[in-house]
Amino acid sequence: MTKKNSPLERVEKELKKCVKCGACRANCPAFSAFQREPAVARGKVALAQHIMKGDITLDDGSYAAMSKCLLCGSCVEKCPNVVPTDEIVVAAREALAQQRGLTTFHQAVGRVVANRSLMNLGALAARILGPLFFRKVPATSGLRLRFPLPFLGGTRHIPQLAKKPFLKRHPEEIPGKPGQPRVAFFVGCMSNFVYTEIGEATLALLQHMGCTVVIPKLQNCCGLPAMSGGDINTVRELAEKNLAVLEACRADYVVTSCATCGGALHRLYPLVVGKRNPELAERLKALADKCIDTAVLLQKLGFNPEETGGGENLKVTYHDPCHLRTAGITKEPRRLLTATPGVQLVEMEGADKCCGLGGTFNVYHYDSSMKINAGKTAAIQATGADAVATGCPGCMMQLSDGLKQAGDKTKVIHTVQLLASKIRR
């Protein structure tokens, strides 16, 4: 019997596509960490099927199983039947939260793993990080889900909040050269509050290309961390706000330097929010079509890294963020890096493997997250590179944590920072 009004209904068709072949065992990072079938995509799909049918008691095991997903999309990318397990997990998390009468899956998981900071996420983060954090970071920002971390374990390295958020530093519109595209810059929480240098580099590069850059002050968190918590109401609220704000920019492109934000705008908004609100679907689709990663846009505009980048003699290795790789973006950043003077690109083993952050996965399962990351750290070290470049601030945080804990001095840097290193700001 199908449970009525379950969020799982919106993935009912997708659930049927899985043929249980097991191919996802080869590339699911959650499976690589836990080595148990409920953690693999196939297992989560099977459980979702049973939750949907209502023939499984919703004990802690279901929460635990559904928490073991990084929403990285690696399974979807390689699945012969393109089963969207990430989307299914989001729906299952939402369903599970509902079953317990809670608004978010985080709270539910928090109870299961008896983790108070998860149960009480926003408030606790604010208390510990102090009024400054509370004032600076809005209640809906995904950052709040990421920042109780230091208090979950002692060894964790986290970056500092910037003195002044990126959005506060720049006017809403910076005119460019005539004939060049009008670009809306979707900054994202990490580049706004933490790695502001990514925002600066992106802006500098867009200006270098003569683009008119619109940086809407009212832009919000993309909502991916909330999505990972099955908190679809927050996601929808954020998606609608961001949609309105970005539409108002009347831009040719919506550019991001955050792979995660790109993943939300590009894939998950239309899938998760669009499916529930058909009237929004078309607009979200139009937004998705305009959304573009900075490296890809630069390449498209004929950008030449020799003009603005490099300068140092740097051996660089590149990490593929899942949310770029699964969108098919692997060549562009490498091409740009290779063409950057002074940069020698060396490939690491398994550059395409997930770093282990997985949004809030890292909060639920820090040890497993770092277990996945350990392979990455080793691969980076084996290259002997001076720096590891990547296209996602989330990955940067995770890679830094792993490297620092290993006592390694390899720099972690965003691709755009290398490309813009010669531009004075």
């Binding site: 043929v19 249980k20 072949c21 097991g22 191919a23 996802c24 065992r25 080869a26 590339n27 080595q35 148990r36 079938e37 409920p38 196939r42 297992g43 099977a46 459980l47 049973h50 499984i56 008691t57 004990d59 095991g61 279901s62 635990a64 199983a65 012969p80 039947n81 393109v82």
Partner: protein
């Protein structure tokens, strides 16, 4: 249903974190690639032969069934706990114990993933050829238990051809060694070969000694398109008759090509009716000559296209055609029965013609592709289970396909095994006497019928 005390004992043997009775675990260890589902009573993840032995000894005392499981990628339900019992998962036994470059042998635990093993031996310039399409996720234990094969079987053979010795926990719980690591060895019965393909019914494999080869110096990939299925089929025997044994000779029929082309637009010539993907490996000069010879041999057989990959990237591009087959098939119909008959190489055209007749008679699409080089054809019967009567029709058609293969001197299954899925058809191929001998062996080794009961032979 297992008694609580027995569950406690199992938990003690493997440790609490390697023992599960939660609904989620039971569901997730109750399926495989057949998409059938049965719930076990509990799941255990033993660490080694010793723990496996204790579990089986307990099973003989308490009389509960034990179902060995690797990755659960089997196509015939071999790992499924039909009737309930204990699923014994080999995932934790995942170490490559040694790779001996002096004697070209390696010893591994059964939970090692096939590709992982290949990567490690290749790092040392060595080669483990068996390449089931599931190699990225299937386990070596599962490969041995099913005697898995792949495209490279034409030249190199299947899994059993590389197994030199085993460590096995027999159903009554004793740990034995079979075979060894010498090329020759004739003392006693060849239990190693008996265990290969035994589908987890005669013992649980806890270590495997594999033979290895030097990694071939080079390979060459060719994509050849023919204007008739007969042309392609004749090409297979002509190449072999020409004393060339390619590494692979993969075959795709017209229905397959139409599926792939519709979705991925590969730009194959319109008059193409069948494709052979041919690969040769070995010394660079030799394979250069072989590629030329192959071209000359098959030219008169209605060859309409001959593409040779110049480098690894181009080779990958040609292989893409073959790899896209599976994902494309579902465009034909949502459900499929994937059978893997084998006929003597020269009989491939005959069996394809027979299948065409069956397809017309039952009016359901049948798509054929596979390893023509060794006569192993994947026959995909495409149906829509939601339509009344289709499944029944498919079963009838399958039976006729099997019969066609048997009539031509072939077998029902080259790779996937019997398990639960092919059980009803066993009497088509094996006589009552043959089944009797096999069941005698089973009874001798497993008097209490605790290891993977209900598989292979009809009850």
């Amino acid at each position: 249903m297992l008694k609580p005390q027995v569950m406690e004992q199992l938990k003690k043997i493997v440790g609490a974190e390697n023992f599960a009775t939660g609904a989620q675990e039971l569901i997730c260890y109750g399926y495989d690639a057949t998409q059938m589902e049965f719930l076990p009573d509990c799941v255990v993840h033993p660490a080694d032969a010793n723990e496996v032995s204790q579990i089986l000894k307990l099973a003989n005392v308490e009389k509960f069934p034990v179902f060995p499981r690797g990755a659960g990628s089997g196509f015939t339900g071999g790992a499924l706990p039909k009737g309930g019992g204990v699923v014994l998962v080999t995932t934790r036994m995942n170490k490559i114990l040694r790779i001996d470059t002096d004697n070209l042998v390696a010893e591994v635990e059964p939970g090692v993933v096939t590709e992982q093993f290949q990567i490690e031996v290749e790092k040392l310039g060595l080669f483990y050829p068996p390449d089931p399409a599931s190699l990225k996720f299937s386990t070596l234990g599962g490969n041995v238990a099913e005697c898995a094969g792949g495209p490279r079987a034409v030249k190199y053979g299947v899994t059993k051809d590389f197994v030199m010795g085993l460590e096995v926990v027999v159903p009554t719980g004793e740990i034995i060694r079979t075979g060894g690591e010498t090329v020759k060895g004739v003392v006693g019965y060849d239990l190693t070969k008996l265990l290969c393909g035994s589908e987890g019914t005669l013992g649980i494999i806890t270590k495997i000694i594999f033979k290895l080869l030097p990694y071939p110096a080079a390979k060459k990939t060719m994509l050849t398109v023919f204007d008739s299925i007969d042309g392609a089929a004749q090409a297979v025997s002509t190449i072999i008759k020409g004393k060339i044994i390619p590494t692979t000779l993969e075959f795709m029929d017209h229905a397959t090509l139409t599926c792939v082309d519709r979705r991925f637009n590969l730009g194959l010539p319109a008059e193409g009716r069948a494709v052979l993907l041919i690969e040769v490996d070995g010394d660079p000069d030799l394979i250069e000559k072989q590629a030329g010879a192959i071209h000359d041999l098959i030219q008169p057989l209605g060859l309409v296209q001959f593409r040779v990959a110049k480098n690894a990237a181009e080779s990958e591009e040609l292989w893409r055609v073959r790899r896209l087959v599976s994902p494309s098939l579902r465009d034909v119909n949502p459900d499929k029965f994937n059978e893997d008959i084998v006929v003597p190489r020269s009989k491939v055209p005959d069996v394809i013609r027979k299948i065409e007749v069956i397809q017309q008679r039952y009016d359901i699409p049948i798509v054929n592709f596979g390893h023509a080089g060794d006569g192993n054809i994947h026959v995909n019967i495409m149906i829509d289970k939601s339509q009344a009567g289709q499944e029944e029709k498919a079963h009838q058609a399958i039976k006729e396909v099997f019969q066609a293969a048997l009539d031509l001197g072939g077998t029902m299954s080259g790779e996937h095994g019997v398990g639960l899925a092919k059980q009803p058809y066993i009497p088509l191929e094996l006589s009552a006497e043959q089944i009797g001998v096999m069941q005698g062996i089973k009874r001798a080794l497993d008097p209490n019928n605790i290891l993977n009961p209900g598989k292979m032979f009809p009850a």
